[in-house]
C-alpha cells in the first residue's frame, strides 16, 4: 500500500515568505507527527496530532510555525515570515494510533531552502 506522502519534495523560497508543506498519512492512521531535520542532526519533534487535534505542539520553535489537520487525515505545516534558519528537511510520520506499541512510518520529507 501507499506510504506517507509529502509534497512538495523540494521547496525554495525567499526570506520573509509564507510556505505550506503537506503530509498525506497512511490510510487509517490516526496519529500524525511532524519533525524537522537540520543538516548533520537527527530529526527533532515539532508537533503530534491524534485525529484532528494537536495533542502535543511543544516542539514548535515559535509562533511563526503552525500546523493543522482539519479532517483527521491530511496535515499542513505552515511557516510564516520564513527565515534562513528554517532551512531543513521537514519530515512527517504517521502511526496507527498514538499507542506505545505502534510504529511511526516516515515520509520522504520536504527539503525547504530559504534564500
Amino acid at each position: 500500500g501507499a506510504g506517507v506522502s509529502q509534497t512538495p519534495s523540494n521547496k525554495v523560497t525567499e526570506k520573509g515568505k509564507y510556505v505550506e508543506l503537506r503530509c498525506d498519512p497512511i490510510s487509517g492512521h490516526t496519529a500524525l507527527y511532524w519533525y524537522r531535520q537540520s543538516l548533520g542532526q537527527g530529526p527533532e519533534f515539532l508537533i503530534y496530532f491524534q485525529g484532528t487535534g494537536a495533542a502535543d505542539d511543544s516542539g514548535l520553535p515559535n509562533d511563526r510555525f503552525f500546523a493543522v489537520r482539519p479532517e483527521g487525515s491530511v496535515s499542513t505545516l505552515k511557516i510564516q515570515r520564513t527565515e534562513r534558519g528554517d532551512s531543513a528537511v521537514y519530515l512527517c510520520a504517521s502511526s496507527l494510533d498514538g499507542a506505545a506499541k505502534n510504529i511511526q512510518y516516515f515520509g520522504a520529507g520536504t527539503r525547504l531552502s530559504v534564500l
Binding site: 506510504g3 506517507v4 496519529a31 507527527y33 519533525y35 548533520g40 542532526q41 537527527g42 530529526p43 527533532e44 519533534f45 503530534y48 495533542a55 502535543d56 516542539g59 519530515l91 502511526s95 498514538g98 506505545a100 510504529i103 511511526q104 512510518y105 516516515f106 515520509g107 520522504a108 520529507g109
Partner: protein, 110 residues
C-alpha cells in the same frame, strides 16, 4: 528532558568484520529505544526496537539500563549495511514523540 547521544558521526568497517554502533541515552524513567536506518535515497525506516527483542538483517541491540546504552551490533558486516543509522528514544507510555540522536554514517569497505 531526555537526550540521545551517538558519539560517532562516521564509522567505516571492512566487509565481514563486526559492527557496533554506539547509543547512550539519558532519561529518568523507563524509555523505549529504537534504531532507525536511512539507506541512500530512501526514507527513514524502523530497523528494530528493544521491546521486540528480535534480530533484523542480522542486527541486534540490547537495552542496558545500568549503562543507559542501546548499542547496535552485527557480527559480520555486509556492503548493503552502508547507511545512516539513528538511535531514538520514546519516553514512558503516553508520550509518543521520538527523540533522535545525531546519527552515525556507517560505511562498509568491500
Amino acid at each position: 528532558a531526555q537526550r540521545v547521544t551517538q558519539p560517532e558521526k562516521l564509522l567505516s568497517v571492512f566487509k565481514g568484520a563486526p559492527v557496533e554502533l554506539k547509543c547512550n541515552y539519558s532519561y529518568s524513567g523507563s524509555p523505549e529505544l529504537f534504531w532507525y536506518v536511512q539507506y541512500s535515497r530512501q526514507r527513514l525506516q524502523l530497523l528494530l526496537r528493544h521491546i521486540s527483542r528480535e534480530s533484523i538483517k542480522g542486527f541486534t541491540a540490547d537495552l542496558n539500563k545500568g549503562e543507559t546504552s542501546f548499542h547496535l551490533k552485527k557480527p559480520f558486516a555486509q556492503e548493503e549495511d552502508s547507511a545512516m543509522y539513528y538511535c531514538a528514544l520514546r519516553p514512558s507510555f503516553g508520550n509518543e514523540k521520538l527523540t533522535f540522536g545525531t546519527g552515525t554514517r556507517l560505511t562498509i569497505i568491500p
